[in-house]
Symmetry: D2
Subunit: 370 residues, 4 copies
């Protein structure tokens, strides 16, 4: 049985020095992450935000001779390709319309267009536009062609089904800070045997925060050179986030996000400001709505801010400018969904644009009652 660590353990113990996160808890934590991902693959934990886990995946895979197809639906995809190229890989990018998911046909065509592809990388859900890539279909294409897949699931885990093993994802990268409602300073990757095979080939980068090969020994139960002193604060916070998720039930967490998304969309439609992407292509964490042409996003953000409601600008196909309503994690709740939409409606009206706050409130209440 695990030794429970107390609040005082978060600090330091004069007799035993600065505490590090114990190896036996690391293993348990990895198993719990595996449960969230429905995966029996190795789980690598990183004491860094998820973008570092993404960089580590790219850096650890990249070699001269590696051929990658990189789907770009936001800045993150751009970075991923850049990291692969920096390591010597040959990378072909396919870029979606800004603010929209990739088309499955484009992926199929690209996979078959040239020499063999070793690795396919994509983001599952995009926070910048509220769009969702057609993950199962893309993965099916990749599996049929023996391509190793890397999925950035940071903005989808907990908000959408993500059965890593059933879907056949070789590397899934997640962070707890979105739908899981946890800390931002820790992240995790699931890594399949096929992915380890690519990573551990000759020339694997070593002795680096970005080396997944270094992390392999932690997964295997030992500890070598790096990382030296696992700081426990973020790991403890992750434990607590997983406690909450497991108490609520992962399927309930996903359903709560799906309800928040559909209620937000219903509210926006009733307001007279329908969502940017169609429901079938939409993220459950964020809903983006095009701002009427005559209006300034900054003014709408300021008006909503006066009510204490935080809206942010998104990224869409020019000339569409998007406003994002966030219903992620603890915000996937009636209170936030309702006040997001009503505040956006009030902001529109304050800017001289009609909006039916009343109908929106009715629609959201109805969505939550059904």
């Amino acid at each position: 049985m695990l030794k429970e660590l107390s609040m005082s353990d978060l600090g330091w113990n004069p007799l035993h020095g600065v505490p590090s996160y114990p190896a036996e808890r690391y293993a348990v934590l990895a198993d719990r992450i595996g449960g969230i991902l429905r995966s029996r693959n190795d789980i690598v934990l990183m004491q860094a935000e998820a973008v570092v886990a993404l960089e580590a995946a790219a850096v650890s895979l990249a070699r001269p001779g590696l051929s990658a197809l990189n789907i770009i639906t936001s800045t993150y995809g751009g970075w991923f390709g850049q990291w692969l190229r920096r390591g010597g890989a040959t990378v072909r990018d396919i870029v979606a319309e800004p603010g929209l998911p990739i088309e499955i046909e484009a992926v199929a065509k690209a996979l078959d267009a040239g020499p063999h592809i070793d690795v396919l990388a994509l983001v599952h859900a995009e926070s910048a536009s509220g769009s969702l890539n057609p993950l199962p279909e893309i993965l099916a294409l990749a599996r049929a062609r023996g391509v190793v897949t890397v999925v950035d699931a940071v903005a989808s885990v907990g908000g959408h089904r993500l059965d890593v093993d059933d879907l056949g994802i070789d590397i899934a990268v997640i962070g707890p800070q979105k739908a899981l409602g946890g800390p931002a300073g820790v992240s995790a990757l699931s890594v399949s045997g096929r992915a380890w095979h690519l990573i551990l080939r000759d020339g694997a980068p070593r002795d680096s925060i970005l080396s997944l090969a270094d992390q392999k020994s932690w997964v295997d139960g030992g500890r070598r050179g790096l990382p030296g002193t696992p700081a426990p604060l973020e790991f403890f916070a992750l434990e607590k986030a997983l406690d909450r998720i497991e108490a609520e039930g992962l399927e309930n967490v996903v359903a709560r996000h799906a309800l928040a998304a559909s209620a937000t969309r219903a509210g926006l439609a009733a307001l007279g400001a329908p969502a940017w992407v169609p429901a079938a292509k939409a993220s459950n964490l964020v809903t983006a709505v095009p701002v009427p042409k005559a209006l300034a996003p900054a003014a709408l953000i300021a008006a909503a801010g006066q009510l204490g409601v935080e809206l942010t600008e998104g990224v869409g196909t020019a000339p569409a400018r998007l406003m994002r309503l966030n219903h992620t994690g603890p915000r996937a709740a009636f209170q936030t969904v309702l006040s997001n939409v009503v505040a956006y409606g009030a902001a529109l009206r304050q800017a001289g644009h009609p909006s039916d706050i009343a109908a929106a409130s009715e629609a959201i209440s109805a969505a939550y009652r059904s």
Copy 2:
């Protein structure tokens, strides 16, 4: 300058043992409470919830020969009279209509009706019904007659102006867990010289958690027998709550509660379910609304609960049954006000009773925009 204590200090230090709350921080904390109360009276901190501070005030004042007038507008008033009587005091109760404030005329009449009154006790704002007693008027009557006043301000501090010295309150009892958004396990009293005079007379109860006389020495800077080991957790949490209040500004905190109350009332009126007490007699922390006769409060609470909104039953004049909408502390915000009212409207409608959610949403948005 104060030594800052760290999170690890909340636990225990193997070299120095279980930490207790340092005396010099106690003095600073007392001064900050004095600032919140706008009082230069002594501040007594109690490591217990506010109802214990009330009991301590009563127990410490009560003696055979003490004559008290006790205004009852809820259970707390009933307890206060009981504690005074248990200590031998002669107590006259005046009881308001259930769920309503006391009438000022009744207080004037009672003060002048019999032999000299030493102590007058009342609750400022009532959480059970959302009502507010006419504090300045009652205190003026008491001051004119040289009566020592005890005010339970637990449910008003932070939500209403409470200028203890200007108003001339001899003993004010507060807790941080309502409008101040702090911990529930610590409370405080301000005690005037006139009140100390009554408390420290012959026969003061001593060596007891309920003895304010014991606490006097802490206020005066020393430490004697009891309390022995001030546990710091609740005091640290109170410090943090005061940090937040001071950062926001006490007047802004009060204004935020006043806005939440007026927006809630506007929303309820638009919904077709006006608030229980008139605005001039209403608490800024909680708004109560009478439940339509044909409906069961429990069913409404359950319906709102399905939306994740917590409503609770209040206490009013029979046969009125009250539903309470809570806008206290962090809940004094647009999001909670809006979702409280809309959820109540949705619950009414689900029970077959008409309610104009749309108009309510408009009214609340308008109240926050103005």
Copy 3:
């Protein structure tokens, strides 16, 4: 299964307000305290330091007509008698030599000397002098005479065996802040059926922080009037302390304190400054040593303080002045035992009094090696 509460739950949740300690966790916590006490009696938790639990026991038992025998081995015993008398009980005190345990013969004689005794009260271990009362023998006398027993075990629980049911203790009062290494702002009582019978008779004090009768309903699973808002911080800290104790094993915790005590005594003897009470009558938490007549305790405390070692003055039979070496909780460890004794020896020497630091170090090392 219990819902795990996170660090953020220690604060407050804008959507659900100030958290209170959940009833289902309360029951689990009570069971764990029962395990520490090896008792199936009801466990009452109090959100206050242990001296308040003692006061509550006295106040809840005291009635005109109740006859009590009160053993006084320190200030606490004096207070206990005073609380009983204040409630109308008839109390006979028997007082030990200052700084020494009570003699069993004195107890036997007092029990048989007068009219029937209803309640016998005593402290198990005394922190002021490091002495230990002969608990099993005294309890055997009381049980043979049908006397209800109240034991202040605050300074013995975790440091000595305390099998409440086997010993037949009717009310045991404990606090987590000594050998259990936990927080000081929470305490607990175990209450037998016989004790409840006395407490719940006509005239039980009610609606008070000091009313055990009020607490009975919490034990029975419900919640009534008081206490209203159980603040969770201290309860969470107690949970963590129990986690540590259970991980180490209660018997190991007791053994660790016994070793610290015997090593301290061996070190002091080698130093040339033997302990105050004989080993068989000594507390495992604190060891007191008589200060040589020519020396000032304050000077010795200051000299040890220069080494970062905290010694405190104890209370003994005049003219003996005692110095206390604390080896309680986390201080029951080689490091603290060694530095306590060496620092005391260095302080003696600095004051011009011989002391054999070298022999003391040898003796303590030997005690820990054996």
Copy 4:
């Protein structure tokens, strides 16, 4: 004035989502680190342990054409050279005798031996052997030759004077987890204008956790792409560690470590087991002692562990095997120094090797008394 963040802010706020560390606090924190380093250079904070900050320094400096002299006194130096080479730099290593500081003559000779050196890298104090490199002398040589200097001060900051600007260190890398007694998951670098000039040349690595160029914009007050979500837990813990350091006073912290080191050395000498490196070349954080040839370090570690004292093996010149006594951070105290040495003596004796525990205790007490 800064808004104080509460414990609940460490978790997440349902209304405002996962908190990130606020930019204005970042600036204040950087200034405080600058104060510790006595430097007006830019301070870069990294949300990662200090070895990542070292890697970032190397990666950000390395380019084809860069010429570096790399002093190796432990594994860290080896890594630093490897990171520089991986980035294309030309690196010359000079390696000290294992477990000993570098000789100043060797550095002078290497600096003058070949083509111009751009960068000189070294570790200030070594934890593996308790040795200290002659930093001021080496820096003087480098400054005279216009060489940019990188100093790993992780194991010296807080334990030795480190006046970055007076010494002329261009990049100093520190972590709070040693003498500063803080968290291990955050680190910092001070970067001079000359160092920025090298880092920001064409070809600076970008969009990476390891890019100091990316961090420059944070230092300059803005925020760009990476890092996206500064997780606040480690930063808050660092704030608290700095509170403690500033309350004690940095000079007092250094003096406390110097005293712990000299007392440990005196104790070991009296024990009959003198320290490994001479006092003038010794770290104040760790003291290493050669293990007698006939004895197994593991057995000594186990024997000390039975007393609850943690000793660890060090790295020295073969065939010397070193045992390390740690007096870092909170362990720089009489209690730990005394029990470290006595436990080591007891372990020696248990292994059949003579050791004078008595004399060691005397010597340590005397060192602390003087």
